[in-house]
């Protein structure tokens, strides 16, 4: 409890970084309890509806129907996630809806073995009731892994959607006045793309930060920075 009362927090990171043997850094963002809980709920409802319809259909087939019902329940409960994770690139319908994906902790796609382990170990996460153990581990774990994930070495991450929308056709493009690092390029592009969301005063403020570096008059700075962003997005007029 050393620095409990007077502690300065260190940097809070939410990502996971994996370096390949070729020294390429792969980044991903693990998904937390809330979004995963919702994805689980969607999958749960799908399973429940399927079983309900099946139950109606088999209601009049006596004990044999009961048997088929139990078998389907078993298969749905345990292999529904495995099936989708292996054949649908780590996405059950619920995860797909929420934009999530299961991967190994080195960000490779999951295979049969890992998917089976993480899903069969759901019973450990269920302990003692209603996934309490799983919730606790996910809240506590840096990468929001439940027990099954820890055992199988898997992560649930946000599947990324790249958007390369232009900043708007009315903006002219202008090459950057000096060389830009990658992060700086992202900032310029963001400035151009988000001109609808940022208020005009704020845009002026941001452009004024760059004032000493820009070869234009103060009143033209916003347009100039947007033009550089447009150029970086591929605009060339």
């Amino acid at each position: 409890m050393g620095n409990v009362f007077l502690g300065s927090g260190s940097f809070i990171s939410t990502g996971v970084l994996v370096e390949t043997p070729e020294s390429i850094d792969l980044e991903a963002e693990p998904a937390g309890i809330v979004v995963r809980g919702l994805a689980f709920t969607i999958d749960f409802l799908i399973r429940a509806i399927v079983l309900f319809v099946l139950g109606l259909a088999l209601a009049f087939s006596g004990e044999a129907g009961m048997g088929v019902m139990l078998i389907s329940w078993f298969l749905l409960e345990w292999f529904y996630p495995v099936f989708f994770e292996v054949f649908r690139a780590g996405q059950t319908p619920g995860k797909k809806k929420m934009g999530l994906r299961v991967v190994n902790d080195d960000l490779t796609p999951v295979g049969w073995g890992t998917s089976m382990i993480r899903n069969l170990l759901r019973w450990a996460d269920f302990f003692p009731v209603l996934y309490t153990a799983g919730l606790a581990t996910m809240a506590w774990n840096r990468y929001s892994q439940r027990l099954g994930d820890l055992a199988a070495g898997t992560l649930v991450i946000y599947s990324r959607k790249e958007s390369m929308r232009s900043a708007g056709s009315d903006i002219r493009a202008n090459p950057p006045p000096f060389q830009l690092e990658r992060e700086d390029q992202v900032a310029f592009v963001g400035f151009a793309q988000r001109s609808q969301q940022l208020s005009e005063q704020r845009q002026q403020e941001l452009a004024d930060i760059l004032g000493p570096l820009l070869p234009v008059h103060a009143s033209q700075r916003v347009d100039y920075v947007r033009a550089v962003g447009q150029w970086l997005l591929g605009g060339r007029q």
Partner: protein
Amino acid sequence: MDLSKLKFDPRLRNGWQAIDLGFAMARQWWWPSFLVWMIPALALYALLSFLLVDALFLLPIIIWWLKPLWDRLPLMMGSRALFGEALNVAATLRQSPKIFWIDLLPSLTWRRFSPTRSFDLPVTALEGLRGEERSRRLAVLHQNYSNAASWLTVVLVHVEGFLGLGFWSMAALFIPPELNVSWFALASSDGTLVMHFSNLITFAAMALVAPFYTLAGFALYICRRVQLEGWDIEIRFRHLVEKHQQPEKLAPGRKVAAWLLPLTVCMGLWGQTGDSWAQQVANQSSLIEDYYRQLDNHAPAAESKQQVMEVLGGEDFHRIEMEQGWRLKRAGEGEAGAESMPEWLLWFADVIDWLQTIASPLRDIFGGFATGFQLLLWIVVIALVAWLLYRYRNGLISLLSLPAKRKTAAQPDVLFGLDIRKESIPEDVCKRVRQWWSEGRHRDALGLLYRATLSRLVHQFAFEFHAGYTEQECVAVVSRGDNRDLSDYVSRLTRSWQQLAYAHRLPEAAQVDALCSQWQGLFGELRDAR
């Protein structure tokens, strides 16, 4: 607001990612934010449990109702910690009366049940906005994330409930079954001890979830501001300006080079005008020589070699890894030798036995249905076996070395543009070939020989060529047969033919002659024998 002190990476996040950021904050600052929430709440809890002895069931309800107040303290502390200030539990607690007082009434009445409570709280508690102003601000903030904020509330309400039930059932697990506790009677009784226990569990669940809920709402608010105000852009722009205004920091090596260049240029200029030009040049060259000598002396070859050996001898290059695990043991492997062979068979028999014991009650249940299933399964098995037999018929036939029944229809009439039908080959091939060769129709001669060979290979020796084969694939097919002379001959002939056909290089006359006479030996005889 100094964004350079920010304790997180202000990217654009979607609502869920913002919530995750809040959870990461709660993990990082767990103890301070937990304590800051719990201490005032627990104080009231203790007080009330003395005052409300007759109505203990009210206790968790009151604590729960006052949650908007408790939530303000972790929020206050988190908002400071996010900009690098120290987390100070005592100071935050001292400020609590002032913090609690902000907009007290609306928070506890009509805003108490707002699903976006934690997302809205920073506007009230940190920005201090009220009434119309507050609504306008919220309208802007709610254009994004309000959906995620509501779901955050819904999910965490459930988590809190699950956690409470989890504690209950954990407790139940520790009660021996011999005691025969009637849970229903216990839950509905109003025994004071049970009531206290139940209250405590509810309180614990609330206190455990609260920091996550509050800080997730705060993270949503912060990420929304990152979006609206472009914090990420501001940080990069400031960094860029800083970088361009500072004198360049160069690496030492580059620094020397950078100094050296203007120096030499200046020296050159002086030298041209002044008297001691030669002197200057001499100095300069000795300087450079010194530099190289230093480089050489720095690590003599022997020493660096020794260093390399040391590194190679080090632990990094001599890592021993032990791997332990269960692996299937092959029959006949290891010391058990021949005896272990039937072991897996026994095991297999055990499995079958076991399956049968399991199956017998099932069979009773399924009855006629099972027989139907069984029939179906047998049909599938038979179909599978039949299909396998059909699929691998060729392999099986050759395995049993049955005389292969060739389908004449499968034989191609034309291979790479050459007609190889039996009818198209003249009776006396060799005579015709020699005749054409002497007449100077070299291409026709060798072509005929090659064509005749292919034709015989197909019709006499029953090699299977597909219409799409190349010359070399034909050679490969022949060499797979066990007739060594034949395959040798075919490969030689093919090479000669290819050189003539594609490279326009004539073989020697003697070679053609030899090929002809060998042809007679290989194919002529056999034809007679048939």
